[in-house]
Structure formats: structure tokens, C-alpha cells
């Protein structure tokens, strides 16, 4: 049904004068429940369907492109969309690199365990029960957990259908389930909040509500009594939730678009050392149950496994067809495509390979320094690599936690930070499609008093 609609849209587009193009139809059903203390805060249910079209018209000098989307699929709306898209494309400039891939489309559709039929029965009451359990578990940890921003439980089922005029058509389903808890700890007039969340393709693989609530409460409690520290240069450890943020910054710098636009500090570094040899980074779109897994990318090309950084050497950028052509390389199957936006590049499942030591061992062998458990603000410049973000965490002396730290920044340049990673933890943690273990950077500037 969905594939038929996508295919029909393309037929209309060709009839309206398109040279080539592709169509994606995304259908979503979702339920979300939030509970505060024992009371329901809100329940939201939705179903949505959106068609995205990318069409090319042929002119001298290359193809011209336009991208449109609509959730109005009634009557002749799709026909009109196809005509409008062709007209829009005629107004843009010819681009010699524009166009679809002409071959190499995905042939096999491996079972990626992206949904569990048993989860079809999850109803609102189940979500309410799970959110209440997370909330109760958070409050039970300590009497200083006095309030909360609530705990949420949600499920989403998505169907993606993709077709192009080069002859590829395919579809798949994926589910997402998540639990979040955000308790507030208070003592002596001070309030601190933190959160913990779990996300999985199958409900049965989701961390339990009790565990999510407990870990969220423990993180909020750990920040009570936080102090500022004097400005200093020390070793810094990032725990897995904050380390994955740094990997996300790095991912933006290896995107083919940032590279050909020369807006990445890694643009000319392919094949060169960009990190210490403790760092190996993999992108794999076919990890069973992976939150970034899919059988084919946003252009119908097969997803796969590639080593982005191997023992510190930059081995691959992340590329779609267009950015690959611009760079004279081949697509890495990293085209991302939602119905409502232009194609781009995104990691699939991207992670830093874990090392041998636990987080505790990294702390014990650090001596004096900072363990970062919270990063905020957006202080990263991909063009220069300059990194400067707000942080909170724990001050470490002689390898032991001394007191919580707050209202500080950690700053450096990502190029130096990557080179200065002297240890990688064994605690790789999946909280999304980008994941990292704990990372220790031998030297960063911490700004405080």
C-alpha cells in the first residue's frame, strides 16, 4: 500500500516532466504517557503519514533538484505535488553532481530485529504502569528525592517505504520504546535534577522501569552539595552519556557535507592520525536490534559496517551519494532521509570500541582530576574544532571521589582532545544510535572560580 503510493507518485512525476527522482513514505503510530508522582500528567496518541518527493529535471549542464513533502494524501493531492515539485526544480540551478545512484542498490534484506510482534499489544495502561514504576523507584531511593519533572513511557511503530526511478523499491518496519525518569533531589534549599533513559527496539530489551528510576535518582542525588573549583588544567573523564555527546560532535565533522564544504576541521585528514591509538570508531547500519539499523539507507543503498577511525587513523568519512560524488568517493550507505526534509548524511549505529578498564579503574588511575557526568550548552565549532561546554561532575583526588562539582566549563580543541585520549573504558552504553564508553582525556582546561 505504502510502496504503491510512493511508486504512483513517481509515475506522476515522470508524466509531469521529471527526469528521475525518489519517494519516501513514512507512517508513524505512537503513544506517550507521562506520570508525575502517582498522577498522570498527560497521555498523547498519534498517527501520521507523510510523503516526501525528490525530483530531478534534466537541463543543459546537469540536473536540477527540488524536494517536497506533504501529509495531504487525499484525492489528487499527490498528482498536484508531483507537478509542483517539477515546477520548483525548474527554478533551481543545474548541478553536475546531482542525481540518484544508478546502481548498487540493496539486494538482501537481512532480519535486523527492529520490532517485536508481541509489542503490538502494549496499551496505555501498560505505559502508565511502567511510568509509575519508574517514578516510584526514583522516589524510593532516598527521602531527599522530593519532586520530579515526571517519568515517561512511550512506544512508536514506524513503517518506511522507499522507491526510486532507478528501479529500487523496498520497505521495512521499526519500533522504538523508551522510558525516561527525571527526579529532583533537594537538601538545604538546594535542588538538583538529572535524568536517565532507556531506549530499545523491543520492549523486552528495555531496561526495567525500576532501574531507570533508581539510576536517575542516584544521578540527581550525586549532584547535591556541588561546589565550584578553581580554574585548572587537569585530566578529565567523560562518563558514557557525556562521551556519546562528544562522539556526536565528531560525527558532524566526518559527514561528507561538512567535508566538501570545508566546514570541518577534519576535511583534509583522511588517512591521517586524528586521535590517540586507543580510539577506534565503527559505524554499522546492520547491528541486530540497533537503534540506527536499517536494511537500506535513504537512497536505497545497502547499509553496512565501516571503520571510521582505526587506532586513531581516520579511515572513512560518512557519505551519501551526492557528498561522495563531490569528493570522488563511493557512498558509505549513510544517506538519511525523513519524509519532511532534504536528504543528508547521518551515522547509522556509531560507536567507540570499548577498552579494557572499568570507569572505577579509570578514576583510580587518574590521580587528581574531574569526572564529567553532565554537559550542557552547544559550545562546539566544527570548522575549528573549538570545544567549550558547561559541565558538572565529581572532583577526584588520589583516585577517589571528593565532592560534586558544578558551574564549570571544560574547554579544549577536539583535535587535541582526541589526541589526548589516554584510556577508553569497557562500559560502552547504548542510549541511542550513537554510543560511547567512558573516555579519559589527559589534559583539558576547567574554568571555575
Amino acid at each position: 500500500m505504502s510502496l504503491e503510493l510512493a511508486t504512483r507518485a513517481l509515475e506522476r512525476a515522470v508524466a509531469a516532466g521529471a527526469h528521475s527522482g525518489d519517494a519516501v513514505l513514512v507512517e508513524d503510530e505512537s503513544t506517550e504517557v507521562r506520570v508525575r508522582d502517582n498522577a498522570i500528567d498527560h497521555v498523547t496518541q498519534a498517527r501520521e503519514r507523510c510523503l516526501g518527493l525528490r525530483l530531478f529535471v534534466a537541463t543543459e549542464g546537469g540536473l536540477r533538484q527540488a524536494i517536497t513533502s506533504t501529509s495531504d494524501l487525499a484525492g489528487d493531492a499527490v498528482d498536484r505535488l508531483a507537478q509542483d515539485t517539477v515546477a520548483l526544480a525548474r527554478a533551481t540551478a543545474a548541478d553536475p553532481n546531482a542525481g540518484l545512484p544508478d546502481s548498487g542498490f540493496a539486494l538482501d534484506f537481512p532480519e535486523l530485529e527492529l520490532f517485536d510482534p508481541a509489542d503490538a499489544d502494549i496499551d496505555v495502561d501498560r505505559h502508565v504502569g511502567d511510568a509509575r514504576a519508574a517514578e516510584a523507584a526514583a522516589r524510593a531511593v532516598d527521602p531527599r528525592i522530593v519532586n520530579s519533572e515526571g517519568s515517561s513511557s512511550d512506544s512508536q511503530l514506524t513503517r518506511v517505504a522507499y522507491a526510486n526511478t532507478a528501479g529500487f523499491a523496498g520497505d521495512y518496519q521499526r519500533a522504538g520504546h523508551s522510558l525516561v525518569s527525571s527526579p529532583i533531589a533537594a537538601e538545604n534549599g538546594e535542588m538538583q535534577t538529572d535524568y536517565w533513559f532507556a531506549v530499545a527496539r523491543r520492549r523486552s530489551e528495555l531496561e526495567s522501569p525500576e532501574s531507570v528510576g533508581r539510576r536517575a535518582a542516584e544521578r540527581a542525588l550525586a549532584q547535591l552539595g556541588g561546589k565550584r573549583i578553581a580554574t585548572c588544567e587537569v585530566p578529565v573523564i567523560f562518563d558514557p552519556p557525556t562521551a556519546r555527546g562528544i562522539l556526536g560532535n565528531l560525527a558532524a565533522c566526518v559527514s561528507g557535507y561538512a567535508v566538501y564544504r570545508q566546514s570541518s576541521f577534519l576535511a583534509e585528514k583522511l588517512g591521517e592520525r586524528i586521535a590517540s591509538d586507543a580510539v577506534t570508531i565503527i559505524d554499522d547500519g546492520r547491528l541486530p536490534g540497533g537503534l540506527g539499523s536499517k536494511p537500506f539507507d535513504g537512497e536505497g543503498l545497502p547499509t553496512g559496517r565501516k571503520t571510521v577511525v582505526e587506532n586513531g587513523i581516520l579511515r572513512s568519512f560518512l557519505l551519501d551519494h551526492y557528498s561522495a560524488r563531490k569528493l570522488g568517493l563511493a557512498s558509505t550507505g549513510n544517506a538519511s532521509r525523513s519524509a519532511g526534509s532534504a536528504p543528508g548524511v547521518a551515522p547509522t549505529n556509531l560507536w567507540i570500541e570499548p577498552g579494557a578498564q572499568s570507569l572505577d579503574e579509570l578514576v583510580q588511575t587518574m590521580g587528581r582530576g574531574l569526572l564529567v557526568t553532565k554537559l550542557f550548552g552547544h559550545g562546539f565549532n566544527p570548522v575549528t574544532g573549538d570545544f567549550s561546554r558547561g559541565a558538572a561532575g565529581v572532583w577526584i583526588e588520589n583516585g577517589e571521589a571528593v565532592h560534586p562539582v558544578e558551574e564549570i566549563t571544560v574547554a579544549g580543541n577536539l583535535a587535541d582532545m582526541l589526541a589526548d585520549i589516554d584510556a577508553v573504558g569497557n562500559d560502552l552504553l547504548w542510549m541511542g544510535s550513537v554510543a560511547a564508553p567512558s573516555l579519559r582525556v589527559s589534559r583539558m582546561t576547567v574554568a571555575g572560580e
Binding site: A93, Q223, H378
Partner: protein, 484 residues
Amino acid sequence: MTQPDNNRAAALFQERFGIDERALDAALGTTLERQVDHADLFFEYTTQDSVALEEGIVKSGDRHLTQGVGVRAQSGERQGYAHADDIDLESVQLAATTARAIADAGGGETAVSTRGGPAVPSHDLYPIALAPTDVPIEEKVALLDAIDRYARALDPHVSQVMASVVSQNRHLMIAASDGTWVSDVQPLIRLNVSVIVESGGRRENGYQGMGGRMELSGVLTADGWHPLVDEAVRLALVNLEAVPCPAGTMDVVLGPGWPGVLLHEAVGHGLEGDFNRKKTSVFSDRIGERVAAPGVTVVDDGTIPGRRGSLNVDDEGTKTQRTVLIEDGILRGYMQDRLNARLMGQAPTGNGRRESYAHLPMPRMTNTFMLAGQDDPEEILHSVRNGLYAVSFGGGQVDITNGKFVFQCTEAYRIEDGQVTAPVRGATLIGNGPDVLTRVSRIGNDLEMDWGVGTCGKDGQGVPVGVGQPTLRIDQITVGGTEG
């Protein structure tokens, strides 16, 4: 001001989708079959187009249509919400049934008042003759081509120019169980220019955007867009000279305009009604208390004509207003949507906003700014012996519960012996919201609003906002940099 055809939105939903008074009454009646405190329907039909230029050519044009309906039922603190992207009688009824099912324990409104047709908002802050989405795409392409040529001619170090123009036209209609029935058409434009400059192997970028709820004609002329490109190129060239930023605690002077994002982060979010009802904000229960230095007056004003954060009515149909949040340093009020106003026994302030029909409304800011003081901006700079002059920011973030905020400078300079000296790179400011406003020691006489570029994120929803302030001196704030 004229009262143009704002009922265009109501007419669109009736003619295109058959949503008339009977349909609204039927859907509201369904939600009200069980006792609820409040129920509302939100219809949206938004068209958006954008064209983007890079490497000297407009490589793509985009056009997107977002349409849908959201139905909400409230009882006590509970809200049930269902939304769908088909706007038809069947979807609306189904959503109404879903919404009321999870909010069925209230009491209060049980009948729909007489409506008498859709109302037009009682002020019209963005009267336009031609919707920006109706301007031919060729004119937008020509604008971007002109921007590219102009930027490259400005300075030989310019190596990349990226520019885009985004046009939006949002039709919305709200009908509620208290008899509210109002519609609005909200135009929004935005022009973005980003350049990369190269010199001696070093590469830096500069960005500037501008926009608001206005016709596109204002930016299609050279007088309209030249200042934007000049600013982006100037910023990039300044950053080419920038040295590493010092780290530590120092006196900081904030420039006028966009640095008002500090107010937005440091105090604005903490004054939103939901956080205060739940007592999760550092400002909870502090009305009437001193929260800022004398002379500091902060307002949220959704009624400034043409501005990005302005609205005729909020997304719950409440007329927007000017709300004094802090007056001469004393906390005066919170920003409210209907739910939190009702639960706190206060009046709604026209701050109930949502990203789209697919989102529940929340208390959100509109245009938030500090009023001007008496001091000469030059003199404020000279008053600081050694510190930082922060002129522009990339963005910020706040933790409502402990008040910690952070934001990133995109243009900043050292102040040495009362003189502005070298530009610095990678500077971040961090502080504590309730604390920082008590450290405001000088307030300039030069209030400016930003260029019309702010998007505020909260709970996963982005809405357009405005910020502003005069030049400010803040004593002893932590600057994150790399030079110890």
C-alpha cells in the same frame, strides 16, 4: 492598522476540510460527554518553502505542507491529547474520543457556549498583502545569487558562501469548550547567510540571520539584505584574528540585542508557569521578592508588530500581551498557558504555545527583553579594568532546577585596562540564573532587539522567539576558555 482577512484561516478549514461550527460542536461535545475541565481543538495548515545556495548555485528548492488537528481534554492536572494529520470529520471525532478517554475524572465546563462564528484576533501585528510563500521562487533564487556575488566581492578571503531563504505561512484555528473560536494566519520569514573565510591556512566561519513576521519584500531589496551579509563577513574576519580565550572568573560586558538570550536562559525559562506550579524552578514561590539588581526590568511582550516572537493569539486562542516579569529587580509575574494559570489561580498571559498540531501547548516565551537604563555604553566598557566584552552568542541552555545556564560566544573581545583589545575564540559563559541578575552593575541606554533569528527549545518543541537587551555590565561571571 487594518483588519485584513484573518478569517482566511477559518474559511480554509471550512472550505477545504469541511470543518464548520457543527463539526466543532460535535467534536467538543464528544470530549465533554465525560466531565472535563477544558477541551480544545487545534487545526493547523502550514506551508513552508526554502531555497538554499552553496558553491555559487541554488542547488535545491524545498516545499513542505504540514496539516493536522490536535484534540485535547483536561481534567485537573491531567491532559489527554490525540492528533492526526488527516483533517476530516472522522479523524477529529476519533481524536476527540481518544483524548477524553484518558482525562475523564474532572468537573467544570459541561456545555459549549454560543459561538456566533469564528473571531478575528483583536490586534493584527503582522498585516501583509502578499504571503511570503506566494512570492515566486525565482525571486528568492535571484536574491541568493545576488547575496553570493556581493559576499565574495566584499573580501578576497571569503572562500564559501551559504545562504538560504525560508518562507512560512501558518494557518491555525482554535475552538474550545469555553466558547473560544478564533483563527489566525501567521507569516514568518528568515534569511540566513554563512561564510567561510581562509587566510594563511586558517579557516573561520561567520553567520548572521534575520527575519520576522513580515512580507518578503523588505529583505528582497539591497538595503534590506546588505547589512546581513556585511555582518556575516565581518564576524568571520574578526574570528580569523581571534586568540584563545582566557578561563576564569571576570567582569563581563554584554553587547545589546541578541545577548539578551542570557535573560531568556538565565531567568526566562525559570518564570514559565509549569515549572513554578510544579515547584521545580529556582524561582518558585518568589513573587514579590528581589531577584535582580535595582534597575533591572524584564518583560515578555508578544505584541510587538512584525517580530519573530509576536503572535496575535497564542496557540490556545488567548490574546497575547505585555507581561512584566521583573520590575526594578522585584519578581512580579510568571508566563502562563491556560492549564497552569487555572491550577495556580492566575490569569493566562497569552504564552500557551506549541510547535505544531502534533504537540501539547506549554508556557513559552514570546519576545523577552530587558528595558534600557541610563548608562552610556562606551562608558560601561571603560568601567571594566580587565574582563570580557561579549558581543554575540551562538545559543544557550539552562537547567531550570538549579538555575545553571551556559552560552557560547561567537564574537567576544578581551577588555584590558578599560579598552577593548583582541578578539577571542571559543568563549563560553556559565553562571547561575538567580545569581547573575543580582550582579548586573550597569545598564546601558541602548536597548536593541535581536535580528529575528531565535528558536527556543523546550521538551523537544521548537518555537520562534525574540530577545533583546541594552549593553550590560555583569560583575564576576565564569568564562570558559582554554588559557588558564
